[in-house]
């Protein structure tokens, strides 16, 4: 089948969206942009095509088999991918251990590594065994990172620092290798793992062989200039976010997108065409990365921040929105005995205050309003935004889609599907 692909190469994450001929979303893929854009694009596309094939599979077997079976297959597939990556990371760290770790502690370090990776693999397999999959990060770096740190804490400080050092060194290498993570690479093993249920096995084999032809691709986002596409296949992220938000919520007239290092306020008309926009300049204060620093500072996953802030009774007033100072301010206030959740709530509000002035500059919130970008997944950020918009513009419909992080890529895919015609 013919399909259109949109790629959004952001400063922290890279997203891909695939549309079928009816411009229905066939698959989405995301990865952290890491330090190799071409690779990031490949990974995101691969992920999107994996999702696309699962979607095709789903369309085939609905009626024949239940959703549950497919979900299980998908989780099995993710597990296979994860184990594959962990295996590679382990190898890299063993090599580095042999190279960098002083001889006298090399053996014990290697042993510790083996034990830690055994433990992580066990954890992953157990997690798979659970009926419910917990909400977790999309990125191998985060998943492996938190699991590794948890396991490494069992060792004394010196060993811990050594292990953590090895991890920091090798994770970037692991990320920058192109590993075989495609549908065809792991679907077989995944199918075995769930015991080849008769009601989907044939369909799966079908899906493996199904041809998907990406007729047209359009790229956008912070790094779009680096995409190996001709000029006419590149669109400004402003236009893509406008069109994408319009596709998700046709009544939208205002779009706020908070990405890793830029914030955009966009006004669109009834056709999804951008009528005005504002974006931050020169300084990343109040952007998504800000929360990244806070998460690092607190040793939390990015996705854990919001829920914690939600517990706050009275948010602290935060002064500096300089991303790098955020960590310091957090420490100061903690030492003053302020509650973690109150400070976090304050930080979320501070970010949204910055966004509010961009919104106002772009023309305010006169009508239905859509919040997109990575930060839109954060409940505390959404709450702060909801309050502020209500206070300054009155009752407004605020749309947030679970897939809002894909809005730019969706817009790009829509542009692609137009050029395809």
């Amino acid at each position: 089948m013919k399909c259109a692909v949109g790629v959004d190469l952001g400063s922290t994450t890279t997203k891909a969206v695939i549309l079928d001929e009816e411009r229905r979303v066939l698959g989405r893929g995301i990865t952290n942009s890491r330090s190799n854009y071409d690779l990031a694009v490949d990974v995101a596309r691969t992920e999107a095509f994996v999702a696309a094939r699962f979607e095709l599979l789903r369309r085939k077997v609905t009626g024949v088999a239940g959703e549950a079976v497919l979900d299980r297959l998908l989780r099995a597939f993710r597990l296979e991918q994860m184990l594959h990556q962990l295996g590679r990371l382990h190898v890299l760290m063993e090599e580095e251990c042999g190279r960098a770790v002083p001889a006298e502690v090399r053996k014990e370090t290697a042993a510790a590594l083996a034990a830690i990776f055994r433990r992580i693999e066990a954890e992953e397999t157990d997690a798979f065994a659970q009926p419910e999959a917990p909400r977790r990060s999309d990125f191998f770096r985060d998943l492996a990172g938190s699991a590794f740190t948890r396991a490494a804490e069992a060792y004394d400080a010196a060993a811990f620092d050594r292990l953590q050092g090895l991890f920091d060194k090798c994770i970037i290498r692991a990320e920058n290798e192109s590993l075989a993570l495609g549908f065809r690479d792991h679907i077989g093993a995944a199918l075995e793992r769930i015991g080849r249920p008769a009601d989907i096995a044939p369909a799966v084999d079908g899906a493996v062989n199904e041809e998907i032809d990406d007729a047209a691709t359009v790229g956008t986002g912070y790094g779009r200039a680096r995409l190996p596409f001709p000029k006419e296949q590149i669109r400004s992220e402003i236009l893509c976010h406008g069109l994408g938000a319009h596709a998700l919520f046709p009544e939208t007239r205002t779009v706020l997108d908070i990405g890793g290092q830029d914030t955009k306020a966009i006004q669109v008309d009834a056709r999804g065409l951008v009528t005005s926009f504002q974006m931050n300049d020169r300084c990343a204060a109040g952007c998504g990365r800000y929360l990244g620093y806070i998460a690092d500072e607190m040793n939390l996953g990015l996705h854990e921040l919001g829920p914690l802030a939600e517990l706050s009774g009275r948010p602290t007033r935060i002064n500096s929105t300089c991303t790098v100072f955020a960590g310091a301010e957090l420490r100061d206030r903690l030492s003053l005995g302020e509650k973690r959740e109150d400070i976090l709530a304050g930080l979320h509000r501070a970010i949204m205050l910055r966004a509010m002035s961009l919104l106002a500059r772009s023309g305010g919130v006169s009508n239905e309003f859509t919040f997109t970008g990575g930060v839109a997944r954060n409940p505390a950020a959404v709450r702060a935004l909801r309050e502020l918009v209500h206070d300054s513009y009155g009752e407004r419909t605020l749309n947030i889609s679970a897939d809002s992080i894909y809005t730019g890529a969706l817009g790009a895919a829509l542009f692609a599907s137009r050029t395809a015609e």
């Binding site: 400063s11 190799n36 060194k169 970037i172 690092d296 790098v324 310091a328 030492s335």
Partner: protein, 298 residues
């Protein structure tokens, strides 16, 4: 711990024991000094990293370990500096630039300025031959070029704090960092990696951009002669080299180029300065008695 009432005079009044406690944003440092007819000896020094722990506890830890190592049963003056304003057992507080100037002068008598670089601040202080602050300049409320920023990049590159300096020294062709904002600069760095720039060149690029800022600070003070690098980043040999290069390139100093020196105790410059000023005040105000005795410690 509480301040003891000043009772009697110590056995040997000519020998004054003082402690200096310097509380920074990432670590607390403490020193104990003995000064006797003009002779100053460093009896002990201790540094404890804060690492998300209760600061008061960290301070006590640094102070008590310094005192124990010095084997000091009593102190005539406990001087705080940096964030240490509220230490209950401190006799007096001196502000950061006052103490870094004095401490730097103690470590390097030829010094007429000090460059104090910490996790979140950088400041240049010019002083006279007695450690009196003549002028200063500090970076603004933006973390660009701060130690924290360097630490984040290093973490991303998988380089440990200790490795930063040595790696940076290996750089053949440093890669300039353009952005003003630390976060945007971080993206620059990510792009560098994607363009296959070597880690040493990236680190040196950052060191150079930091050095550029610091030298501009020094330049704005028109400093001459010798400057001491103090604060948390004083030990970073890559940064030292970058600053030396920048100093020679910028032709700082009207007669001879400004010379950057470091000292194994550079990290303690603030604490040393506080302890020295403590002794100075103890004599100037003729306080007599002791400010603190081991009996009153926890």
């Amino acid at each position: 711990m509480t301040t003891a009432p000043r009772t009697g005079t110590p056995a040997d009044a000519s020998r004054v024991l003082t402690a200096g406690i310097d509380v920074g944003s990432s670590a607390a440092k403490a020193v104990v000094l003995a000064s006797e007819n003009g002779e100053v000896t460093v009896l002990s020094h201790a540094v404890v990293r804060i690492r998300k722990r209760d600061i008061a506890a960290v301070i006590d830890h640094a102070f008590t370990s310094a005192v124990e190592e010095a084997g000091a049963g009593e102190l005539h003056y406990v001087a705080s500096t940096g964030e240490g304003e509220d230490i209950p057992y401190a006799t007096g507080h001196f502000y950061g630039m006052t103490t870094h100037a004095r401490g730097a002068l103690f470590l390097e008598p030829r010094a007429r300025s000090v460059l104090d670089v910490g996790a979140l601040h950088a400041r240049a202080v010019a002083m006279d031959g007695r450690g009196r602050v003549l002028s200063y300049k500090m970076t603004s409320q933006c973390a660009s070029g701060s130690g924290q920023f360097l630490a984040n990049i290093a973490r991303y590159l998988g380089v440990s704090q200790e490795e930063i300096g040595p790696l940076s020294l290996q750089s053949a062709s440093p890669e300039p960092v353009s952005s003003i904002c630390a976060v945007l600069a971080e993206t620059d760095v990510i792009n560098m990696v994607s363009r296959g720039i070597k880690t040493p060149d990236i680190l040196r690029g950052i060191h150079d951009s930091m050095a550029g800022r610091f030298v501009r600070l020094l330049r704005s003070l028109d400093v001459e002669g010798v400057t001491v690098l103090s604060g948390g980043l004083a030990g970073d040999v890559g940064l030292q080299a970058a600053i030396r290069d920048a100093l020679s390139k910028e032709h700082l100093g009207k007669t001879a180029p400004v010379e950057l020196v470091t000292h194994p105790l550079s990290v303690y410059a603030g604490a040393l300065g506080a302890a020295l000023w403590g002794a100075f005040r103890y004599r100037k105000l003729d306080l007599g008695g002791v400010a603190w005795t081991a009996k009153t410690s926890p």
